[in-house]
Symmetry: D2
Subunit: 286 residues, 4 copies
Amino acid sequence: MPYRTDLALDEAEHISGQLEGIKKEELSFDGVRITRIKVHSQAGAAQLNKPMGHYVTVETAPLTGYVDHDGAAQIALTKELTDLLPAEGAVLVAGLGNPAITPDALGPQVAQHILASRHLSGELTRSVGLGELRGVSAVATGVLGKTGIETGELLCGLVRQISPAAVVVVDALASTSLQRLGRTVQITDTGIVPGSGVGNARREISQKTLGVPVIAVGVPTVVDAATMTLELTGQEVQQGHHSAGMMVTPREIDTMIQNAAKLVALSLNRALHPTVSTEDLMALVG
Amino acid sequence: MPYRTDLALDEAEHISGQLEGIKKEELSFDGVRITRIKVHSQAGAAQLNKPMGHYVTVETAPLTGYVDHDGAAQIALTKELTDLLPAEGAVLVAGLGNPAITPDALGPQVAQHILASRHLSGELTRSVGLGELRGVSAVATGVLGKTGIETGELLCGLVRQISPAAVVVVDALASTSLQRLGRTVQITDTGIVPGSGVGNARREISQKTLGVPVIAVGVPTVVDAATMTLELTGQEVQQGHHSAGMMVTPREIDTMIQNAAKLVALSLNRALHPTVSTEDLMALVG
Amino acid sequence: MPYRTDLALDEAEHISGQLEGIKKEELSFDGVRITRIKVHSQAGAAQLNKPMGHYVTVETAPLTGYVDHDGAAQIALTKELTDLLPAEGAVLVAGLGNPAITPDALGPQVAQHILASRHLSGELTRSVGLGELRGVSAVATGVLGKTGIETGELLCGLVRQISPAAVVVVDALASTSLQRLGRTVQITDTGIVPGSGVGNARREISQKTLGVPVIAVGVPTVVDAATMTLELTGQEVQQGHHSAGMMVTPREIDTMIQNAAKLVALSLNRALHPTVSTEDLMALVG
Amino acid sequence: MPYRTDLALDEAEHISGQLEGIKKEELSFDGVRITRIKVHSQAGAAQLNKPMGHYVTVETAPLTGYVDHDGAAQIALTKELTDLLPAEGAVLVAGLGNPAITPDALGPQVAQHILASRHLSGELTRSVGLGELRGVSAVATGVLGKTGIETGELLCGLVRQISPAAVVVVDALASTSLQRLGRTVQITDTGIVPGSGVGNARREISQKTLGVPVIAVGVPTVVDAATMTLELTGQEVQQGHHSAGMMVTPREIDTMIQNAAKLVALSLNRALHPTVSTEDLMALVG
């Protein structure tokens, strides 16, 4: 593979000829651009280098600065997530990635801001004015090197135990484009396939492996150094080159991850708990 | 229940009459006292207010100061853990408790120091001179209020998925005795029963619920404020009293937890990876 | 000293006779009670066991649950802080305490949520719509055992270097009353005198030692175990007793500290940056 | 400036002609290479693009794997630090950088592992068998964006207050060479000049600005993306290019930083506290 990306949008730009079995629509409002790609045939999947399914991308202003929690990106993400999530039933949100590596910490940070409600009785939530809540649970899955357990294994065991209607996995992604870092959110119903973000290849996490719908939400936070080299020089980096295990990432990665995590978590909270006000969500899991 | 403790040693001291169905032996060396209590009948269990099984307590000097990683406490713990653990087979170590509450952070801190090896091939570990390692995995289970998932549920799902030969659960405990805080380690093969340490009552985690042997390792870090009041005044605290949700804990709780976590983790690592030197263990996960 | 408290309110309750040189006024609204104590003579200071000056206490509902960021406590605190702070000039906010001990982590957590603006040019802040900001700086001072530097020394050096018009020190406090924990905020212009909260005695931090006005803001998070014992039994704990180095603290101390830190930080931000909207403050440092 | 580096070693390699006013010596043992560069004239300083003074570099095996705490790198660093530090007098160790950005977290992590002793009486340290200790203090200086205070200002105030005989500043560095990342330690008596590591340009921190000798210790953890681009393509990146604010860093940056921090901290502790055994140092601040 000459370049490495987790974004359908990047892949679509690398296709020179005509799209086959791929439907693409774009719309923009208030500075936000939404691209919906639907891959509906195996030919399309081969061309895009991605499994069949839906890929929605929301592009916004850079998340290094001030984030408006009632802004267009927030509204767009909440709507797109609502459309892809099942209308009802319990949902397990899993934050993937290594909290000790800043560009990989999106998943764990999102998990911390999810309003977990599975353990709360309706009686309790009604008594504090939150109404009846959907049963939401939230975990950070940790990293294989520290736990000895693959993320896919942990989620498999958990899904069999608590039987959610769907799983949402949140992870940092790789892009081919420096401009997309930290300002793009991709949502897909195809789950996560090996070769992602900062971490190493791992088992697919999808409806096929977990047995329930899997929605993956990701934000590109790194460009592979070998990919950047290829883009800049037109030449593939040789195996064993020093850039092989390297990644390119913005200097202000801490602010970017923090803002992206808040944006994604609030969208998920709003999509999963539509009866709770944004103010209450921010006060509870801010 | 007039007082609250997780230590068999505390309970044994509260028994006024003769012990029935309870065997107790004590030995001391180099400033460390080991007490082995075996409850071998239901009468003994009722008397001790604990399930039938083995309870080993290692008492050492206060863990607020300097800890000798080759000292007597280390040696005693490693030996007692080795005796209670199955001789072979994969082991899952689970750190219970809330990392954001210092006296409850023992479990998560221990989990961070466990040498996870389940994902490493024998080829790899032999090539770096560590020999063939037992398959060890390590997780911090998080807290119900943040995840929406009970610790028992998470472990149940995980055990079904990865099928370890045994589970080790590590948790902070409650004692009736201020003197025992931070200088006592209890090891038992009965698992953990509701009513523990800082957190609230929860489902039993034991061989009965997980289907494999469960060894619980704990260090008392708090005394219930109501228990202390009872001990001091001889009077039970009334329901709704302000001390009801309170705990008593040492001021230097950060150092105590840190030292206790290192002591317990190193003992577990030595018992689980007897072929790896203490120096290598400390360099790898110290 | 038979009991240990940092709250003027606790001390006032322990005075049996008539108050001399002490003025006290109370007002309540929307479930919040404000008590303003002014000690205006040395006799009053001796009676109250506190230096001459102002002590304002805001009592609210327990901070373990949901916090309304536009509620009465917020409004009251912002007003009282505004009244005690100098009307203009740069302000240094210092968070005291040990972040690794939950009930002592108030100061460091508040420091993280303060909108530092001293380094921002007026041109920049106006360009992003925040107007001209007062020069605010924010530090967590760390703990003597880890740094080898007394908080008072660090602040002395810093004040001489950056010459603020006033210093605000934020710290966790000790109370004699379990009911006051986590639901009381004390503001005083007398600074902090030795014998506070979780940590050990230290040098006074006040206008006398720093040379500029010092406003101390604190929330009681612990009761000394010896003090609780005295209150319960009427008897002083003997020196060397096991409760000597112990503290009593709520089980839900993590939520309490987090909510108290947000409440105090937002009040300070609003008092220091009155031209910035609450929403902007929460988005920027929330 | 066409490329960006903090390493004298990188600069020396970019000099094509003969070295003037620069003395360079190299030695190797047990897989460690030590390079000592002395810049003793203004011509040399101009040629090397660095102030006059000493630059010692210790190159070792990659710090991503296992670190031997008694290995050659440890021995070499301890010796070189001992040679550059004043023979006696109090020392302030300052960890620079942002703990929330992994490749910038070297300084704060080192500060956590330094044995602070300034506050300990000789009576106390002798009674626990540590002998008479040099007065060492340790701070993490935080980041301007969060504190509103420049690192140089904070250190200036602190030095005036506590009057150490020397200051050691520890910081992550930038290199032009991907191979040098995480396996090179540079020690210099010239302090730190603007344009370093992950953070932005700032005031010089040196004997000139602090009034006492300043030893800077650094490990390269990033290559500027624009620098990598220049090295790969031979062309300068244009202003405003997307790689402008980007950095290249290894995927295993968490392990690298953790190991580098332990290596540097232990060397400093050994150089500052030569009477304390390595085992005691590791047990106390490991």
